[in-house]
């Protein structure tokens, strides 16, 4: 709803020509500084070692060797594909998990009266206030006791529950006219069928916003995987690239290639699903994305 409004500017009045040019100039300078690190990352990722340390700098590689650097990355970090795969598994697992638990719970809280509803919902909202960092140690202990440390289970299961997604989806479900659901019930559908065939299809924009935010947060997660699953078999991509630089002094072109690979999926997703990102941010605002 807000995203549609965003598409239409609400400037107070038409700008005069010089002002308009000035605005463009400032926006261009800003956009250039925001984009510069990306350009520099890609440019470095394709440079031969000899072009890394030059003065003055070379903006673009003279003898690009993207493929060679990619091969070199896998020589330095043979498990890098495994790390990318683990990131994908963690991201997919958490997103599907949250989709199931949170859409069920959001539907329950939005449309059913049951004893303790207010208390339980307040409890979930209260958990929104807990910064994840503050429970890192007990979370680690818990995973240790469950025997889940250094497993993909540890990366997926605790992240499959969310107070934030519950809140977001409940808001979306509440905005659906209840008559749609009631008429489905009159025709004999049980609540799960109503949710699946009526409520969820009517909430696609909110679900998309939920999905992109969850995917983005999971893919970029670092601190939790760092303490919960840091073995060659279970490492995710963010840890993979941080290891590249920490343990050996990997050259910058290889590091930039690794960073580029770890960033690319999110950049692509954002460019395609931009609308939902923006909508998710302005809809939810309640909590930072990371």
């Amino acid at each position: 709803m807000k995203a549609q409004q965003l598409a239409q500017p609400s400037g107070y009045a038409d700008l005069s020509r010089p002002l308009k040019l000035l605005t463009y100039a400032m926006l261009l300078v800003g956009a250039f500084s925001m984009a510069l690190p990306f350009v520099w990352m890609v440019s470095t990722a394709c440079k031969p070692p000899a072009e890394l340390n030059t003065f003055p700098i070379q903006w673009f590689p003279q003898q690009p060797m993207c493929m060679e650097n990619l091969t070199e990355l896998y020589d330095q970090s043979p498990n890098f594909n495994r790390y990318l795969l683990n990131s994908a598994i963690m991201t997919l697992g958490r997103t599907v998990g949250q989709f199931i638990t949170c859409s069920l719970a959001a539907y329950g809280f939005a449309r059913f009266r049951f004893p303790g509803r207010g208390v339980l919902f307040a409890l979930c909202l209260g958990l929104l206030m807990v910064p994840f960092q503050a429970i890192l140690i007990p979370e680690y202990m818990l995973l240790n006791r469950l025997g889940w440390l250094n497993t993909l289970t540890a990366l997926i299961v605790p992240g499959s529950f969310s107070a934030f997604a519950l809140f977001l989806l409940r808001q979306a479900f509440l905005q659906i006219p209840i008559e749609f659901e009631e008429s489905a019930e009159l025709e004999g559908a049980n609540p799960l069928q109503v949710l699946w065939y009526v409520t969820l299809p009517l909430s696609v924009p909110a679900l998309a916003a939920f999905a992109v935010i969850t995917i983005q947060a999971a893919w970029n997660d670092f601190l939790f995987p760092l303490v919960a699953a840091n073995t060659p078999e279970t490492r995710v991509a963010t840890i993979g690239i941080s290891l590249l630089q920490g343990e050996r002094n990997t050259p910058w072109n290889i590091l930039m290639m690794g960073s580029f690979l770890a960033t690319l999926p999110m950049l692509l997703m954002f460019v395609v699903l931009q609308r939902y990102f923006i909508e998710g941010v302005s809809l939810s605002g309640l909590r930072t994305m990371r």
């Binding site: 503050a134 990102f277 941010v281």
Partner: protein, 326 residues
């Protein structure tokens, strides 16, 4: 008065049943719906309690214990907090966090507001600009910090090269204790502007057009319209964004971990250690779980305070844009 007598067992159980049924609902239909409701919310609520609720309690308990890798936990009262108060490393971490906050929050929020104001005009290419400004938000902080580490390398880094006319080419941004927070703060701002910008744009969209029309009729110029219409109407949004940014600043970890990896993690002499990094270091590198939990409690209380403030302000925020806010 009824005669007092020992009720027979079936009657007791029937009474309990009735109470339980009435608790669920008055009619069979409402009972059925109540059971459905409970069943639907159960997975997420139980999962949240198990993986987040109980750890919150445990964090609290552990902060009053001495617990390291060798010995089992022993309750020691407030000793961890007393030690914290006398630990210069803790004060350094707190100071570093506050320095980052004082740099990154005003710069980030002001830049975001500025960009949002520019983008809130009738311009071509707004969408493309918005995309570019938002890109850093979706980038992983680790990858972003990696790129900026490369940019801030002395001699051959991009920053040094751009600053070489000023004679700053050989500056050791990431190893000098007096400089290391600057690159970290820049990464924070760079990744934050797009996020705040989107919230500001949403806030700007909610200012009724009529106010500007009335101001124009009253002869207000561009600056006066900004000063007396936009700014006051945007103040709830601004408060909200500032608080979100402050909370975000207290959680900084990835940048410190990545950007100081080449020399001393946490910066030379702890010059880049933030509160979250300090907790990670004591808990996971030095295995002082009790002490690290006390640090986590401090972090928790600070952020809790901020969040409560934020929620109170947000109520006002939502009220202001009541005609369709969420």
């Amino acid at each position: 008065m009824r005669k007092v007598s020992l009720p027979d067992l079936p009657e007791v159980s029937r009474n309990i049943m009735t109470i339980a049924l009435n608790w669920l609902g008055r009619t069979p239909l409402t009972r059925r719906r109540a059971l459905w409701g409970l069943a639907l919310v159960a997975p997420n609520v139980l999962g949240l309690l198990f993986f987040f609720g109980i750890p919150v309690l445990n964090a609290f308990i552990t902060s009053f214990q001495e617990w390291n890798a060798i010995k089992p936990p022993v309750p020691i009262g407030f000793a961890n907090f007393e030690r914290l108060a006398n630990d210069s490393a803790f004060w350094q971490a707190l100071t570093n966090t506050l320095k980052l906050l004082i740099f990154a929050v005003p710069v980030g929020v002001a830049s975001a507001l500025f960009v949002a104001l520019l983008l809130n005009q009738q311009l071509r290419g707004r969408g493309i600009f918005r995309t570019i400004y938002f890109l850093p938000v979706v980038t992983s902080t680790v990858a972003a910090a990696m790129v900026w580490t490369w940019i801030f390398q002395p001699r051959y880094g991009l920053a040094g090269n751009l600053l070489s006319p000023l004679g700053l080419r050989d500056l050791n941004w990431l190893t000098r204790p007096d400089l290391v927070l600057i690159p970290i703060g820049i990464v924070m701002v760079w990744q934050r502007i797009g996020f705040d910008m989107v919230l500001f744009l949403a806030g700007l969209q909610n200012i009724p057009r009529q106010l500007y029309e009335a101001a124009i009729i009253d002869g207000a110029n561009r600056w006066q319209r900004f000063r007396f219409v936009t700014l006051p109407m945007l103040s709830p949004t601004t408060f909200f964004i500032v608080l979100l940014s402050v909370i975000n600043a207290f959680q900084v970890f990835d940048q410190v971990y990545v950007m100081t990896a080449r020399t001393t993690r946490g910066g030379v002499g702890g010059s880049a250690v933030t509160l979250t990094y300090f907790m990670y270091d004591r808990g996971f590198l030095k295995s002082e779980f009790g002490y690290a939990s006390a640090i986590a409690m401090v972090l928790f209380l600070i952020i809790l305070g901020m969040t409560i403030l934020q929620l109170r302000l947000q109520r006002r925020w939502v009220y202001y844009e009541s005609e369709g806010g969420v």
